[in-house]
Symmetry: C2
């Protein structure tokens, strides 16, 4: 038994992990935040598990332990912006006639929050420039987020419709935050929600 390697970190040879910050209930959160920042600032290609570990002040093995491969870290870092486990059930379980409005407000909120906007834009940038990042988005994020929404829908082709809804929100983000097309870039969030909500409502709740 090596002292100082308790907690979920796999044991490794050589230098012992920095136990002061390496474990505990906050390590996972710290890794996620570090991953979000690293991917946002460096892009998919230049981010490494080692860099994420360093920024989080933990051992790389702990990053592997919690999240697995780099692609899985990326997926988790993207997903944390949406907090789907926290927010989606509430959105999906509310009155069906306001589903489009709740989803529009939720997505605009994710984009309006600078903390989640930066990594989201970085994700989009990575997906447009690196097939590996596109593949992760396709495989992990879309499957988890959109199929979760689609599973709750009572319409034909629910995944197709959820993708159309998502595509609209992605496109709004591109024109509003990246290209900064006016007047969309300066419009009040609620003005956008008011126009977009009936679109999402039709895609997700009307046959």
């Amino acid at each position: 038994m090596t002292p100082g390697t308790d907690g979920p970190a796999p044991r490794r040879r050589g230098r012992p992990p920095r136990t002061a910050r390496a474990t505990g209930p906050d390590a996972r959160t710290r890794i996620l935040e570090a991953a979000r920042t690293e991917f946002a600032e460096r892009g998919y290609d230049k981010t490494s598990i080692r860099g994420v570990a360093k920024a989080a002040g933990v051992d790389a093995a702990l990053v592997h332990h919690y999240f697995g491969t780099k692609d899985e870290v990326f997926a988790a870092a993207v997903e944390v912006s949406f907090e789907p486990a926290l927010v989606l059930p509430e959105i999906l379980e509310g009155p069906r006639q306001d589903l489009g409005e709740r989803l529009a407000r939720y997505f605009i909120g994710v984009w309006e929050n600078p903390v989640s906007r930066a990594p989201m834009l970085a994700t989009l940038r990575s997906a447009l420039t690196h097939e590996a990042a596109a593949r992760v988005l396709r495989g992990f994020v879309l499957r988890r987020l959109l199929e979760r929404i689609a599973a709750e829908l009572d319409v034909p082709d629910p995944t197709f419709r959820a993708e159309l809804a998502a595509s609209h929100m992605v496109g709004i983000a591109v024109l509003r935050y990246v290209i900064k097309a006016e007047p969309l870039a300066s419009a009040e969030p609620e003005k956008i929600v008011a126009m977009v909500a009936p679109t999402l409502q039709r895609y997700l709740a009307e046959r």
Copy 2:
């Protein structure tokens, strides 16, 4: 007077321009096609007027003569994919109740055509990674394309609504051609048109 410098090319010292291909009714078209290819293959940042001129087999001065700055070449190269002068009047002047359907079919058609899709994706990629390219899209393309559409609309906030419509088409392109999210990536174009047309119709023709 220097012989061999007739036509629209500004005169330059030293080696005379390659007159055989340098002028004539096709030079402008050749420059546009070369610009489209160069921007698509190299991105906004790495494309130069000189490179476009070389690819088109003309003198760089002729590129300047026809299009002005690099930004203006970029805008023209993007715009040629939409052929707005050719197609937009027809779309906008048709029956108002089918406007959304005509526009949806037009945009999907531009994206479905590999000849225009590659430069469009390159444009999007450039706009997401280079503020200069985003600025050009914002200034030239959106102004020319969207305000042309907006000018024909009889709704409040026509530019805002035209931007919402455009955002949807941009987002569909990202999910369908870049992230390749299924089933959207493999859906028949007409299936997308059928779902999206009422959205564009509401944005562009309903108060």
